[in-house]
Amino acid sequence: MHTRFLHVTLLAASLAALSGCGQHDKTTTTGDATPAPADGMADSATTAAADLAAGAPDPHDPCGLITQAEAEAFLGGPLAGPPYLSGNPIGDRAEVPDADGSVCWYSTADNRNFTVTAEWEQGGTISAGVAAHADKAEAATKGLLKLKDGTELTGDWDEARLNGCCDFSALQGDSLVEIDFGGSMASTEQAAELADKALARLPAPLSVDGRAGVAAAQKRLDARYASDDPCALWSAEDITRLLGAPSGPPERSGNECTWSFRNKQGRNAMFVATVNPLNGYRMFRAQNATFAGFAKGINAMGAAEGVQLRASQGVEGPWEAAVNGPIQFNSVRKDASIALRQSGMSEDDIRALLGHAYDRIEAGAAR
């Protein structure tokens, strides 16, 4: 049932996601999976029942590689429901329940999450495809598993790499396991340990059916913000009140919205907001990693001229976390993320604008 072409496009999807294409596709249906218990993972009896209802169990279900206890330890809290299949760790189909998906999604009630993907065969070819893209896109790091203290990660895997900020992939023999931990607070070392556990279970996965968790996950998703239009977060009146009179209607491109306005000092100003109402923790981390990589390159080139790019961490405001860099302002709150590229805006303007947007997202979710 899984789409085997997933990983070949992983890096391309990741690059697209870094530029902000993380839209929520509400049209995806949940398939014919049997509804799972409202909370907690299915026990073996209900899993078996779900297997019967959903058809023969899939021996290559990625949800059978991690136990509930391991998942909860990794996320630091109880799961909101059983693990479920989804389309992708990032991008349009991320987090969206999909009985035909190839990614197993684990999420807590506060939407901290991680995903597990596995290829039982042809993992070497898939890994090489991702690495070949990374060879061009990440020439500086090339997936090196070097930790901050200079040591290198090792495990039971035969080779491993870190793709982008937070996709840890481990190859053993010709089987590949990927742990995308960008939506969690976990470290690369923890992801590596989890990958080792998943690799060990490849020959005999646990009896967990990822399809069984789809309906419950959809129910949880339905309670969250529904619009995929980033411009719907602000009306012209909102912009006038918060920043100044708009110069025209907003322009939408995917999950980006551009507003131009005349600020309260009478100067022309504008902002481009990239909005991810879902999977925001993951996107926030990816955006920050993109900036860090960019800054590293610029700083290396500009060292002689004294050019240095730096970001301000821990900026106070109506968000859980934010990073103010010279390229854009990244922020996240309750798994929604908003990144701003702007001109002529003060930090107070940004606080007002994003506070309003996050309130709208949460109000929409509470409907």
Binding site: E121, G124, T125, A128, G129, V130, A131, A132, H133, A134, D135, K142, G143, L144, L145, K146, E152, L153, T154, G155, W157, D158, E159, R161, L171, Q172, G173, D174
Partner: protein
């Protein structure tokens, strides 16, 4: 054979041996003119000193593969070595392009000591470091266990169809590396040495031969490895994967005596010296970066001996068309001369270049190692 004839035959064999017990100390029995006689024993030959290939910066290893258009070579050079790790740089030909592309692989000393995972291919997009594995060499612990126990579990990172039609044994693998698992078993009665040209001279390097079938999923490969019997550097000197085979034919490393000094001595005494460590692209006259230490040495010599004029000679093996070989050898001699003039600003008038093709072999052209010896650059001094 009749019983009496059998007895005679056996006595003829045994009598001299029985006679040996009658010889005095310092004598031994020999059959001379059909009779056993006591003769002075030859002095026992002291065992040859163990050949060590030091794992140090500058160690350059040339692997050759016999191909339809001639022997292809690949040069791997240790570009750094410290207490924590070593870094290996390998020159690959750019597919479909002139010139080479270099890839680096770092190996941790900890893995060189104890890993049982042997990586044997470079793949596009590889990271510089594969912690937990070695590259083109066993770990010291694996070699010791192979010698002690006769077999070792081993994980081998390679591609299933390496060296088969359409696959270049020495090339950069585009994709498809898998990790095959199996047991490497020591081959009894295998040759004890493999001849490799070490710093320009043939050396019989001690080896341990292991063989085994390795598999992953439905794929399996047969692997045979000749490993240098040196716990400090158990490098794979010959590798056969199914029908494809690569062999180390040349090893150059910085010896305690600088290469310029070695050249000077040889040129002063015999007016001729091989310039070890000059590497070219396959079938081309393009000098590879690994040639730099040898060029440095030649330039240093020329500066130290301003009165000397040298002829740079190019030589090839005998594979292929004689005229083409002569042309190639001339181009290669020209390339070395040109590098010394342009990169080291040495006077052009002090050097000439000549190509001799395959007309001056120094070894048999019937073997990989012999052909490798014949592909060379020599310096000849104009002696009075």
């Amino acid at each position: 054979m009749k019983p009496i004839a059998k007895l005679t035959c056996c006595l003829a064999l045994w009598l001299p041996m029985l006679a040996a017990s009658a010889c005095e100390t310092g004598q031994t029995s020999r059959v001379l003119d059909g009779k056993a006689r006591c003769v002075a024993a030859a002095k026992p030959t002291p065992p040859a000193p163990a050949v060590r290939i030091p794992l140090l910066r500058g160690l350059a290893t040339t692997t050759a593969v016999s191909g339809p258009k001639g022997d292809e070579e690949q040069v791997a050079t240790i570009v750094s070595a410290d207490a924590e790790r070593i870094a290996l740089s390998v020159d690959f030909r750019s597919p479909g392009k002139v010139g080479i592309v270099s890839r680096t692989r770092q190996m941790r000393r900890a893995d060189l000591a104890s890993s049982n995972r042997l990586n044997h291919v470079f793949q596009t997009g590889d990271a510089d470091s594969f912690p937990g594995s070695t590259m083109s060499r066993l770990s010291s612990a694996s070699l010791a266990a192979l010698k002690r126990d006769g077999q070792i579990p081993l994980v081998v990172g390679t591609v299933a169809d390496r060296g088969k039609a359409g696959q270049d044994l020495l090339g950069l693998v585009p994709a498809g590396r898998k990790y095959f698992r199996g047991v490497l078993t020591r081959v009894p009665n295998a040759p004890a040495t493999l001849t490799v040209r070490v710093n320009g001279k043939p050396a019989a390097l001690p080896i341990v031969r292991g063989k085994g079938r390795f598999s992953v999923g439905a794929d399996s490969i047969e692997l045979e490895l000749d490993v240098l019997d040196d716990a400090a550097n158990p490098m794979v000197l010959r590798m056969r994967q199914d029908r494809a085979q690569g062999q180390t034919v040349r090893i150059d490393y910085p010896s305690p005596k600088p290469q310029a000094s070695v050249l000077e001595t040889a040129l002063a005494t015999s007016c001729r010296a091989e310039l070890n460590g000059i590497y070219f692209d396959f079938g081309q006259a393009t000098l590879l970066p690994a040639s730099k230490p040898a060029l440095d040495a030649a330039a240093q010599l020329m500066r130290a001996k301003p009165g000397w004029t040298l002829r740079i000679e190019g030589h090839t093996d005998s594979i292929g068309n004689a005229a083409a070989n002569q042309f190639l050898s001339q181009q290669r001699a020209d390339a070395v001369r040109s590098a010394l003039i342009t990169q080291y600003t040495l006077p052009a008038a002090r050097m000439t270049a000549s190509g001799f093709g395959s007309t001056h072999p120094v070894a048999s052209n019937a073997t990989l190692e012999g052909r490798a010896a014949n592909r060379r650059v020599e310096l000849a001094r104009t002696c009075p």
